[in-house]
Symmetry: D2
Subunit: 207 residues, 4 copies
């Protein structure tokens, strides 16, 4: 399948009022499957709408959605894709979202309960014959990372939020960081052509 | 009743991905009524949650919500207040929100249909014995402005998005702008002590 | 000459701490001239550095800089181009920048005094045999607008901050706004193929 | 001396154009000394100007500036305080700032060369009889952290960018992160009443 970044993620945090990180939105697709990876945040829904419109892809033709983990800056726009099958790590179901804060409880419940078809992952699957899933619970208990073999960009590492910017990646590669997350990213990226960051521009890796 | 600004609005627009204006959120309250004016955008829901938590005010105790107009940066967080009565200009009901874009249609429909009790305004009411409503369709066809007599801040002008920053206000007062919106703001503000802007800090007026 | 937008401008304003609008940065160039129009704000200098690096254009090979007006979000990065000739409306020289606030006075003085070669405009010139200058003092007393005949994008209108987003443009075209600025933009844009906004994406005009 | 946060830092990063983190600006003061810690970024100079104006403190009465490290989002506004003595770790002087990129080289050189009086630190000093300096080169080679005994807020930890948000702090305290930076922050914060983050709100520590 071919891979395309639809929205490049970033961070907007300006105390005391603005807390708005927003994640990178990507698509993996061929003639049959239209797989959205991390549909992203509220601050980018207009950009996502515009992009899908340019691709002439109605929301109900998105077949699948893969979530690196269940945090609001990654999942909000999942509410727009009611016909998709959701691929999420099984740990997401253990949380009682309604027990969160007064507003966050409502928001998480609304989004999570909008997923009609969920395929729970254990974090060691191979999906769509081209995606290897890794369980990487170093940012949240339900966090997965992906390695994808694509037709147009070689092998791609998507480390999710365990390595969300170029700076973090360089720290891992150079050994400044040496925890489990850093080691996973360092070793796995050696065999990849691109790293797709959740809150930064994609990086081509020279091997 | 007393008046308090809970969240000061602003603008975050960074092409091509980020389109995130967010409006000022205010509350008018006494022992009985808790009236939220423009509940605001997604980018400030965490700040709003924190503020309401500090006030020990659960969302289901908000009695009323007044909307200056039905644009997403003003209305998103209305979904959290399911027990409130919504006061909105009647023109909002003439739009077919589902006919908007693929994502925006869904989003507007979801938010607007979450309002269970709606009191439609004509734009010449007096509400709660202290709020004068003015029909000011210079930004959208359903736009209203408010003049509120408060116990703690004197008389307040809330011009909504027809004058959304201090710079626009100064342009109106000095006569650089002279359209209907500018004239309304110039004349009305003369009798007020504060202007509450939708996307800027409140301004005390020296009379 | 050919025209290219190097950085698309936007607005980042998040009270009480962040006041950071940033303007669109454009270049007009052929084999001899490299003309930067509004070098832009501090928040985009890294993007501008990256862009110039990709173009293999050292800062001292920028021959000319045209400023729509002397506001910090448009002029800050002018300090990097010490060899350029600056084309600015003559009114800019009438202000005593050092009398501004304690920090703003220093900042404006530093930037303005870094311009070694200044060609003062009256606002009715034709520059480089392809740029018509118009004096449009509706945003600041030294504000000019530009109409440029390009080789690659037809005729371009650059209205500066008198019409800085698509929304303002639509309001002018549809007649919601009808002051001098709106009339200038409406009439002039009829003969153009593109409008380049200072704080929004470029717009292709269908004629 | 008394301590006050003048500007709360944050992060504004929106690819591909906006790269604008901005750091917290603090002041330590008594009748004689006015010590600014990390004067901060361009995006907050207007907020800083307003704050100093409210304090009736002209820029030339700032006596000292302490820098946690020499990165632009922390140092830009240092150019406004020409009479101050700068306290910086000695390693800052080993870098050839002019060899940075075409624009960044100029910008860093301009700011660094504006410091007329520099007191080089080794990272084990006690300053002003109330500040303990620690050499913490885990973010940059010239990075220091501070522990300050204040009259109004008890003992304060300023870990600079080795722990720049609450989330990082919690990760360090709970042991999710366990590198040298995390250990320093965890141990040192046990004896403090507040942690002042460079890109997040201050946190009161319950001991």
């Amino acid at each position: 399948m071919k891979f395309e970044v639809l929205v490049i993620g970033g961070v907007l945090r300006a105390m005391p009022y603005v807390m708005a990180p927003y994640s990178t939105v990507s698509m993996l697709y061929d003639e049959n499957a239209k797989i959205l990876i991390d549909p992203g945040s509220f601050v980018t829904w207009e950009a996502l709408e515009k992009k899908l419109s340019e691709m002439k892809l109605p929301t109900d033709e998105v077949t699948d959605i893969i979530l690196t983990h269940v945090h609001m800056d990654h999942i909000f726009s999942s509410i727009f894709f009611k016909h998709a099958t959701f691929h999420v790590h099984e740990k997401y179901a253990e949380r009682d979202y309604s027990s969160f804060g007064n507003l966050s409880g409502q928001l998480y419940s609304m989004v999570v309960s909008s997923w009609k078809n969920v395929q729970r992952l254990k974090g060691s699957e191979r999906l769509f014959d081209c995606i290897d899933v890794f369980y990487t619970p170093y940012h949240s208990s339900d966090h997965i990372s992906l390695v994808i073999e694509t037709q147009n960009m070689g092998r791609i590492l998507m480390p999710g939020d365990i390595c969300y910017t170029k700076v973090e990646y360089y720290e891992a590669v150079k050994g400044y960081k040496n925890d489990e997350a850093a080691r996973f990213v360092r070793e796995t990226s050696k065999k990849c052509d691109w790293v797709i960051f959740t809150h930064d521009e994609p990086l081509r890796i020279s091997r």
